[in-house]
């Protein structure tokens, strides 16, 4: 009887730890590979020169001063939300309600700009700052309370809170509609610029940069060096261990989510007061979800978040540019983003595992 003995075709085996430079090399080569694969795809679909398409992407993101700022604004927004998500995620509390938390922060800010426009600017800023944080914190507090007291599922709860916030935004837009019948709020206080971030050092975005960088540093220190940060890490790892150590788990959950929501609310403040000067459902525009990817890819390191956000913001504006310049379908440019993200995420697999392919096929009598 003849029998063919085969090894399995591919086996996945865990790898030993890689040195840091090797990890970076794997990640860089994954980006390179992604660019090559995208080039093939681009050429296959459009017959355009891929290099030209990449150049268009770069000029789309960084071509002019306005474009640079628009890319940076996007990056700051994503970073800010991701920073807000970091403590919750570190605690394994899946806060996917950033979208809603950003929106309520934005609504409150817009409300302050509309109703309190006559207050002196410093006071108005303090009020907007505090109110947006409070609103975001409240939005996160509800799911946190239910999680802490009755162990409800935070994923569903925070997700549902998003829809409430979106409805609230629609309501606010209808209420503050300007001009009448436009179904938008329009630019608030266009003439007086009340409640707008001031122009400092020649740029109106100075405050945006300053606030987000400050948050980056503060959150990094908070998570890494403070007692609170330590408690968050312990609770995230195991609630049993936390109880054993004498940590009041409910308190930590609620406290952390108040912080997480507050920072997300602050992102809404920055978006309205510092960038768009208006409120609509696109104030958050899905960034609350994109920021989840940012938070995860950066492994909750806030400085890495800046880099990842920059990459995503670049890809986003670059894709928009090639869509219009090269008359590519919008979806085609999204495909390129998809390919690049796929390769970056995929590289993590190759950092942790290796594949063993079948080496021989033997015949045994």
């Amino acid at each position: 009887m003849k029998q063919i003995q085969t090894e399995p075709l591919v086996r996945i085996v865990k790898k030993e730890d890689m040195p840091a430079w090797q990890k970076i090399a794997v990640r860089l080569s994954s980006i390179l590979l992604a660019l090559i694969v995208s080039a093939v795809v681009i050429y296959a679909i459009t017959k355009y020169n891929p290099i030209m398409v990449y150049q268009t992407m770069i000029s789309g993101a960084f071509g002019t001063k306005t474009r640079i700022w628009s890319t940076i604004k996007e990056m700051l927004m994503l970073s800010c939300i991701a920073i807000g998500l970091a403590p919750a995620f570190r605690m394994r509390f899946w806060n996917i309600g950033a979208e809603g938390q950003v929106l309520v922060g934005g609504i409150v800010t817009a409300g302050c700009m509309i109703y309190l426009k006559d207050l002196p600017a410093p006071i108005l800023f303090v009020i907007m700052f505090a109110a947006s944080m409070l609103a975001g914190a409240l939005w996160a507090f509800l799911p946190a309370l239910f999680k802490a007291k009755w162990n409800t599922n935070e994923t569903l709860f925070t997700l549902m809170m998003n829809y409430v916030a979106i409805q609230l935004t629609s309501f606010a837009v209808a209420k503050w509609e300007n001009p009448y019948g436009s179904n938008t709020v329009g630019v608030i206080n266009q003439n007086t610029r009340a409640g707008w971030f001031p122009t400092i050092l020649g740029t109106q975005y100075f405050m945006n940069v300053f606030l987000v960088l400050l948050l980056t540093v503060l959150m990094f220190v908070y998570l890494k060096y403070t007692k609170h940060g330590y408690e968050i890490a312990v609770v995230g790892e195991s609630q049993n261990t936390a109880r054993y150590a004498g940590i009041n788990v409910s308190t930590v959950i609620i406290r952390t989510l108040l912080l997480s929501g507050a920072v997300c609310g602050l992102a809404g403040f920055i978006a309205v007061s510092g960038a768009s000067h208006t409120i609509s459902t696109s104030t958050a525009g899905g960034r609350g979800f994109t920021a989840i990817i940012v938070a995860w890819l950066s492994k909750f390191n806030t400085f890495t978040m800046l880099l990842i956000s920059l990459l995503l913001a670049f890809l986003d504006s670059g894709a928009g540019e090639i869509a219009s310049k090269c008359k590519l379908n919008d979806y085609a440019s999204q495909m390129i983003i998809g390919i690049i993200l796929f390769f970056i995420l995929g590289s993590e697999f190759f950092i942790n595992y290796r594949l063993i392919f079948r080496t021989k096929t033997k015949e045994v009598a």
Binding site: Y230, A233, S238, N240, Y244, G246, I356
Partner: protein, 523 residues
């Protein structure tokens, strides 16, 4: 009868940088009972998992009945008549015994419950099992579940059975029963491989003993030529003193009084029922019992982690003033703040005692990271403590910042016990402190406990190995069904006596107890 059932040739298996099996070449004779002996982490289970299709070897060849085979998944293993009973049971709780038998069998025949039950009864009669085919798994005791796993393997026609630490969860009586079943299987011509690290069991059941050490095959000896010290030496690689010290109790003072302690689990089932006992300084109080009989809840209740029913009392007596402090209803933090130095080594080391993803340093500060007024955590002291424990207990780790879950079980336990002892406790509670540890580490732990005892600490040792309990403890309290089923003197108690108390509730005694409680309640 010396035909080989299984032959392994140069089998190697690695996980990352860890070599689990290193060039193992061995032979398993047909129709014999073979004990596979080795310390934890010596690669016994990995090696057997390659026979049962869980893992695939990196290198090497496997022959079954003289034919070279390739076992890619458990199905291949079954086709070769190899069946394995894993340490952790793989049963569906809501199904009956008979239903569990047929799960995963790829057959186009219609399910016939009576047929299955009949063939199950046939197997039971043949080998001497006792199990009702219609019993649901959630109603079964641990030993019944194990019985079912073995029947499952036989039902699928296995002629080579691999049992992974089958006696770890059994009482001495149940172990005896299992052994007689295994002998029946041998009579029937089956080949049985038992993975274990209990020496006396090896000697009593097997025909041959194969020994692995650090992934390498050391050799096979016929059981009749073996003795405990020879086997230990082969297993550890050096001579080991197998006696456990038991210093005399000195300066015995009341430290902890537990009375009428009762509590329910999350499902409302009474897991501790009117437990009363005292723990003294300078003494090791052993707690014996089949696992799951309230040991975990008892320790957690004392530590402030488990809600108790009304009427329960846990009192702590200060070492100097003998002042009484009530511990129940307080959180672990409040207990600490009262100045009660209670250390607790929980059963679930990485899930409760330590944070797996953190390094030694960060684990050192788990209980007192709060000290000081700064909002920042101080890392200097914990770092020094980590260095000290690493040095003194010989913790093998790449560094004190390496996540502790990457360490081996023994080293994890050294980190945990080291931290708990460093707090200068007056009460030290340990749950299954040596579970899964190699012989040397186990003896290190016994030594540490004795050291604490001599320092005047009240040590509570929840254990599962009766031989150790009888050799180490001054008194042994036996828990059964959440009740105290007797407290024995560790120096005079017999193993059978403890085994009996573990499984059989002393009826008259509990009645008396409950009457006593009622009387007290009335007055």
């Amino acid at each position: 009868m010396s035909e080989a059932a299984i032959t392994l040739k140069n089998v190697t298996k690695t996980f990352g940088s860890v070599v689990a099996n290193d060039d193992v070449t061995m032979e398993i004779t047909k129709g014999e009972i073979l004990s596979l002996l080795g310390e934890n982490g010596s690669g016994k289970t990995t090696l057997m998992n390659m026979l049962s299709g869980i893992y695939y070897p990196d290198h090497g060849e496997i022959f079954v009945n003289g034919k070279k085979v390739s076992i890619k998944d458990p199905k291949d293993a079954y086709e070769l008549c190899i069946g394995m009973v894993h340490q952790h049971f793989k049963l569906v709780d809501v199904f009956t015994a008979a239903e569990n038998l047929v799960i995963g069998i790829d057959s186009h025949k219609k399910l016939n419950h009576r047929e299955i039950a009949d063939s199950m009864r046939y197997i039971c009669d043949k080998y001497g099992f006792q199990l009702d085919p219609d019993k649901k798994v959630y109603d079964m005791s641990v030993s019944e579940k194990q019985t079912l796993e073995i029947i499952k393997v036989l039902y699928r026609g296995a002629s080579i059975l691999i049992l992974d630490e089958p006696t770890a969860v059994l009482t001495p009586q149940e172990t005896e029963k299992l052994f007689s079943v295994i002998r029946n299987m041998k009579e029937d011509g089956k080949t049985v491989i038992i993975i274990t690290h209990k020496l006396h069991e090896v000697l009593s059941i097997s025909d041959k003993v194969a020994i692995l050490r650090k992934g390498k095959y050391i050799g096979t000896v016929a059981t009749k030529d073996a003795n405990e010290s020879l086997l230990t030496e082969m297993m550890v690689g050096e001579k080991v003193e197998l006696n456990i010290d038991r210093p005399d109790v000195a300066d015995k003072k009341k430290r902890l009084v537990v009375s009428h302690l009762s509590c329910d689990n999350a499902d409302g089932v009474r897991v501790l029922d009117d437990v009363s006992f005292e723990a003294y300084s300078g003494e090791i109080l052993g707690i014996a019992g089949v696992s799951g009989n309230g040991q975990k809840e008892l320790l957690e209740a004392i530590a402030g982690l488990q809600a108790t029913r009304e009427g329960s009392v846990v009192e702590y007596f200060d070492e100097k003033t003998q002042e009484k402090t009530d511990l129940l209803g307080k959180t672990p933090r409040q207990i600490r703040d009262l100045g009660v130095h209670m250390s607790f080594v929980p059963e679930d080391r990485l899930g409760m005692g330590l944070v797996g993803t953190m390094g030694m340093t960060e684990n050192m500060m788990l209980k007192d990271y709060r000290s000081g007024h700064s909002i920042f955590v101080g890392k200097k002291q914990p770092k020094e403590l980590a260095e000290k424990i690493k040095e003194e207990l010989g913790v093998v780790t790449p560094g004190i910042t390496t996540p502790v879950r990457r360490l081996s079980g023994g080293n994890v336990q050294k980190v945990l016990v080291g931290r708990e002892i460093a707090e200068n406790p007056t009460v030290l509670m340990t749950a299954y402190a040596v579970r899964g540890l190699d012989i040397n580490t186990s003896y290190t732990i016994y030594h540490l406990l004795n050291e604490q005892k001599q320092k005047g600490v009240a040590v509570i040792y929840v254990g599962e190995d009766l031989d150790v309990l009888l050799a180490l403890c001054d008194r042994i309290m036996v828990l059964c069904g959440g009740k105290v089923n007797g407290i024995l003197d560790g120096r005079t108690a017999k193993k059978e006596e403890v085994g009996l108390l573990m499984t059989k509730l002393q009826q008259d005694k509990t009645k008396k107890n409950s009457q006593k409680t009622k009387k007290e309640a009335k007055s």
